[in-house]
């Protein structure tokens, strides 16, 4: 089956999650055609600072240049393929030097020197790829310090690809009176034995918390029983109790699907709306951004915004999740914490606490999610039904137009929209 045949208007074939061939094609085409989140400029403050990452099986290094710009290079020596750097982060100094045969490269990847230069006289080296230095990732997009890459020449340009979805990053960044965030505190890393699209789909699933997370919600409710409604809650209770808010709450929170698979869930309110503002914070934001923008930012705390296919963003807490496919049935999910530069420290504590409570490998909330994703990955092998239902709220009119569209919070258009984009970007040169 072709990828487009795996995605119907209201359901998807199990092979989108199970097939090794589909996964190989995703690595070749889908990630060549779409923009993936790579990292944040605050990770590489000084010239020569680098972080290594792997996207769709490709080893990459993001490095700060002497002119303050950021470049992303393939992390392989032009000679034999050695990775130039193997730490997760660090500083290379003024140039890259291969540990194997000492070939050297400028920070932009341009070749500098090789030992025994005379040995290459009269050879084809200069005309070959091997003579051109470290290959750059040519399609690089940076929006307010969030760095994205597209690995191939197909697909759309950065601005057109994300469009309105970049406003979700603005909502996060404008939480800072200085318009500046820093990655801080360390990254929680989970490996889940399920397909990456299943995880991404669940980020837009508002119907699962009541049943999936029942044990955590029951336990929290029982522990908090008998306390007054006004009694200040410990941060963990403030964060965990709203999970059990009920179908009606999740339906009314609203969502918005955007072209190319992006979305915002919780356009009206979310489980994060009730967090108390730290004293003086709203005033500081009004002083910095003006009353209108400050209100826009503070009154909009979506459950999740997705910058398809690799990034899920919350505004409050300042938490992002990065989704990295490892195999058809294995996905890396990272939870990063962002510090609001110039903002109250309480915001950072809240972000760290939320990530720990909900996205840690030891999270009591995530355990049931992870179990169910892994259960689905196995369950789909069953005979009798090769399809996954995405029928809820389907309306033929949603197939027209192609622009952004507002929906109720439990509408599975939030997932259909991802798969429609997926099928399109799975086509060669989409």
């Amino acid at each position: 089956m072709r990828p487009s045949e795996l995605v119907e208007d209201d359901r998807v074939h199990r092979d989108v999650y199970l097939s090794e061939q589909v996964f190989a094609l995703e690595r070749e085409r889908f990630f060549a055609n779409t923009w993936s989140f790579l990292g944040h400029a605050s990770q590489v403050p000084n010239a020569g600072d680098f972080v290594t990452e792997e996207i769709a099986g490709r080893p990459l290094v993001m490095v700060r240049q002497p002119d303050r710009s950021i470049r992303v290079l393939y992390n392989r020596c032009a000679h034999k393929g050695t990775q130039l750097v193997t730490d997760a982060s660090g500083n290379v100094g003024n140039y890259f030097r291969c540990p194997y045969h000492a070939w050297t490269y400028k920070l932009d990847g341009a070749p500098m020197g090789v030992p025994l230069k005379a040995g290459y006289d009269g050879t084809r080296l200069a005309a070959c790829e091997s003579g051109r230095g470290m290959a750059p990732v040519r399609h690089l997009g940076v929006h307010r310090d969030f760095v994205f890459v597209k690995l191939g020449d197909g697909g759309l340009g950065f601005a057109e690809y994300f469009g309105e979805a970049l406003r979700s990053i603005d909502n996060l960044v404008d939480r800072s009176p200085l318009g500046k965030l820093e990655v801080a505190g360390g990254v929680l890393r989970n490996v889940i034995r399920c397909n990456w699209k299943m995880y991404l789909e669940n980020i837009n699933d508002t119907v699962h918390p009541m049943s999936t997370h029942q044990s955590a919600i029951d336990a929290a409710t029982a522990l908090w029983k008998g306390r007054g409604a006004d009694e200040p809650k410990p941060m963990a209770m403030e964060q965990i109790l709203p999970f059990g808010s009920g179908y009606d709450f999740y339906d009314r929170m609203g969502g918005r699907v955007q072209p190319n698979g992006h979305s915002v869930l919780g356009t009206n309110f979310s489980i994060h709306s009730g967090y108390a503002q730290p004293p003086g914070y709203a005033e500081a934001l009004r002083d910095a951004h003006g009353p209108q923008r400050a209100a826009e930012v503070l009154e909009r705390s979506p459950q999740n915004a997705i910058l398809f296919p690799s990034l899920a963003v919350k505004g409050s807490p300042q938490s992002i999740r990065v989704v990295r496919p490892l195999a058809a049935d294995r996905t890396l999910v990272e939870a990063w914490s962002l510090r609001v530069v110039g903002g109250p420290e309480l915001l950072f504590e809240r972000t760290m606490a939320y990530n720990r409570l909900v996205f840690s490998p030891m999270s009591v909330v995530a355990h049931d999610d992870v179990h169910l994703f892994e259960s689905i990955q196995r369950g789909l092998a069953a005979d009798g039904n090769e399809w996954v239902s995405l029928h809820r709220g389907f309306d033929r009119a949603e197939l027209e137009g192609g622009g952004a569209r507002d929906v109720n919070g439990t509408n599975e258009l939030l997932m259909r929209n991802q798969f429609r984009a997926w099928a399109r970007f799975m086509e060669a040169g989409a």
Partner: protein, 168 residues
């Protein structure tokens, strides 16, 4: 017997008593006796698994896999005992393999012990082994030993991990 030797003898007895607390604590976890385990913690007790292992000084500015007061520990135990804890079908089981606990510091504020360990958590057809060092801060409250802090410094806590459902 000289005075100095008598002090050493008392210290050795105390050291063994403290080590017994650490060993018994792990045995309660391995047996799934969570209510008794929870009762070992002082009211202001903390269970802490720092994301940066032994290198981590700060539980606030740096992230942790878990950093839980008694309320959150009680939440974790209550959830594990809930039949709707889907991820416990089938249930997880664990095995702590401890090296001899050694008293690192002792004083009026309690005693600090260091215990290298291997930890195995198994569920269904998966089994995960972790290694590291536990650091217990034990205090005497109303005639009983209580845990003020159990800190678990894993060898490689920052690597991608599958779900860790029980207590290391």
């Amino acid at each position: 017997m000289t005075a100095a030797a008598a002090t050493r003898a008392v210290d050795a007895a105390l050291e063994r008593e403290l080590a017994d607390v650490v060993v018994a604590e792990a045995a309660l976890l391995d047996a799934g006796r969570y209510d008794e385990w929870l009762a070992l913690f002082a009211d202001d007790g903390r269970y802490w698994v720092p994301l940066f292992g032994a290198a981590q000084a700060d539980p606030v500015a740096q992230q942790s896999l878990a950093c839980e007061d008694k309320l959150l520990l009680a939440l974790r135990v209550a959830r594990l005992q809930n039949p709707r804890a889907h991820s416990q079908h089938p249930p997880s089981r664990c095995q702590h393999v401890l090296q001899r606990p050694v008293v690192e510091a002792t004083g009026d504020a309690g005693h600090r012990l260091r215990t290298p360990f291997l930890y195995v958590e198994a569920r269904g057809d998966h089994e995960l082994m972790l290694s590291g060092t536990c650091r217990h801060h034990l205090v005497r409250i109303d005639g009983a030993w209580k845990i003020r802090e159990k800190r678990v410094d894993l060898l490689q806590p920052g690597r991608p991990l599958p779900a860790l459902q029980l207590f290391i």
